[in-house]
């Protein structure tokens, strides 16, 4: 989803944080589907990705909660278990790579939060009128012992960012519930049931848009609302904005620059009605 990436690039440029693409990376690989097939292969590919930046002394910033979880887990698991580290390095030797120690891995949402004061000083457009349902998702928070970021049962960081932009963040019942995306692989109906519950709770809370910090959650909310409507006869049509898209709007970028028309549910009309973007 290039629009998510593009919004993040714009936001971090404004915050004077230098980002470069992590070239030659493979999939992280994802922390749900891949270790289910083979844990060792998962650790090995994750370690290869970490080894790409280890020598450059860069940190890894990711827009995906799944990537962050995988890379932090790999860091953690191999750091605790020298035998596993040796096994993985024996595997990596076949492609002339090696991982020595730890690499700092951060979610883009964390980086934003750590720079919230700078961010506040750059806001040019208040997002007043947006009533946001923040969906934290699972891997942004848990397992908290390894992710070591927000409180997994009472998270606040994303809400604080959303409020700093002038938008409201509304509480709703199943706030901490999973979006259901992984169940699409095993039982689509159950995945829709889970999503239906979340959307209903959001609607009851009186929201007008959803904010996520994970591309996989984005897909679930933006593209599967239709499937939920079909199954349940509902008419959910909440625009979904990835956190950096929301921030970019507050920094003055418009829907065109952000490519918001590429979303499944187009946010343009709502943003115009709220005067967040102009009416052209």
């Amino acid at each position: 989803m290039p629009f998510i990436e593009s919004s993040a690039k714009k936001v971090f440029e404004k915050l004077d944080i230098k980002m470069t693409n992590m070239e030659n990376a493979s999939c992280c690989p994802d922390p749900t589907g891949f270790p289910a097939v083979d844990q060792t292969a998962w650790l090995t590919l994750g370690a290869r990705n970490l080894s790409l930046v280890e020598n450059k002394k860069d940190d890894i910033i990711s827009l995906c909660s799944g990537c962050v979880e995988t890379l932090k887990m790999v860091n953690h698991t191999l750091g605790e278990d020298p035998a596993k580290m040796e096994e993985v390095n024996n595997n990596l030797a076949k492609i002339d790579k090696k991982l020595n120690g730890k690499v700092v891995v951060k979610h883009a949402g964390q980086l934003l939060y750590e720079n919230l004061d700078v961010l506040k000083s750059k806001i040019v457009k208040s997002l007043k009128g947006l009533k946001v349902a923040v969906h934290y998702g699972c891997h942004f928070l848990s397992p908290s012992e390894i992710i070591q970021w927000d409180n997994p049962f009472e998270p606040t960081t994303v809400d604080e960012i959303v409020r700093a932009l002038g938008a409201e963040s509304l509480d709703y019942d199943s706030r901490l519930q999973c979006c259901g995306n992984p169940l699409l692989k095993t039982d689509k109906d159950l995945a829709y049931d889970l999503l239906y519950k979340k959307l209903s709770d959001m609607k009851n809370a009186g929201i007008n848009c959803i904010t996520v910090v994970c591309p996989s959650c984005f897909l679930q909310f933006d593209y599967q609302q239709r499937a939920v409507n079909k199954k349940y006869g509902t008419e959910f049509k909440f625009p979904v904005l990835y956190l950096t898209e929301l921030v970019a709007l507050a920094l003055g970028f418009n829907d065109k620059e952000l490519g918001l028309k590429f979303h499944g549910i187009k946010p343009k009309k709502m943003l115009q009605e709220l005067n967040i973007i102009s009416n052209e």
Binding site: D38, I95, C138
Partner: protein, 173 residues
């Protein structure tokens, strides 16, 4: 169905993740589990841990409920005994895979990573859209490197290439 107790299976799970031993069957995990709620307890993480403790290999592998776990980690957060349920479930799933019981969606995703290095390969339309949005071209891994690496650890042997793979998922946007 007769239940065969396979001590060796239990031992093997423990050798990957010793936290299994600490479960005292309090059911906190099942209480918080969203899939248990949705399925009225048909999916039940406590029972899966119990079956692992008892070494009920056939039950775990023949009737692969374990694949319904979202890996949302809520149970892991709350387990008073710090049982690493999701990792134990991964060990069980790895066994299913070794026995040729891999659900198609997991199989096709793994094949995509094996062949291309990524789960959702960058398609031409995506590259085009990246340029439209002012993003520079991006170089992902050389697929050959990943294939060499994964083949050297026998990853390809775990997958099924006989079933049709559906490589176009909803992630194409």
């Amino acid at each position: 169905m007769t239940l065969t107790i396979d001590y060796d299976f239990r031992k093997q799970i423990r050798s990957y993740n010793a936290s299994l031993d600490y479960c005292f069957q309090c059911s906190t995990c099942t209480g918080i589990c969203p899939v248990a709620q949705l399925t009225n307890g048909d999916f039940n993480p406590r029972k899966l841990i119990e079956a692992s403790l008892l070494g009920l290999k056939d039950m775990l592998i023949e009737e692969p409920k374990v694949w319904y776990c979202l890996t949302c980690q809520k149970c892991v957060e709350l387990c008073p005994q710090k049982v690493e349920l999701t990792e134990i479930f991964d060990v069980i799933k790895n066994y299913c895979v070794k026995e040729g019981k891999i659900p198609e969606a997991f199989n096709s995703q793994a094949i995509s990573v094996l062949e291309t290095g990524v789960a959702l390969p960058f398609s031409d339309p995506i590259m085009k859209r990246r340029r439209q949005l002012g993003l520079e071209d991006y170089k992902t891994v050389d697929p050959k490197e990943i294939k060499t690496l994964l083949k050297s650890i026998g990853f390809d042997k775990l997958l099924r290439f006989d079933t049709p793979t559906t490589d176009k998922k909803e992630g194409g946007k």
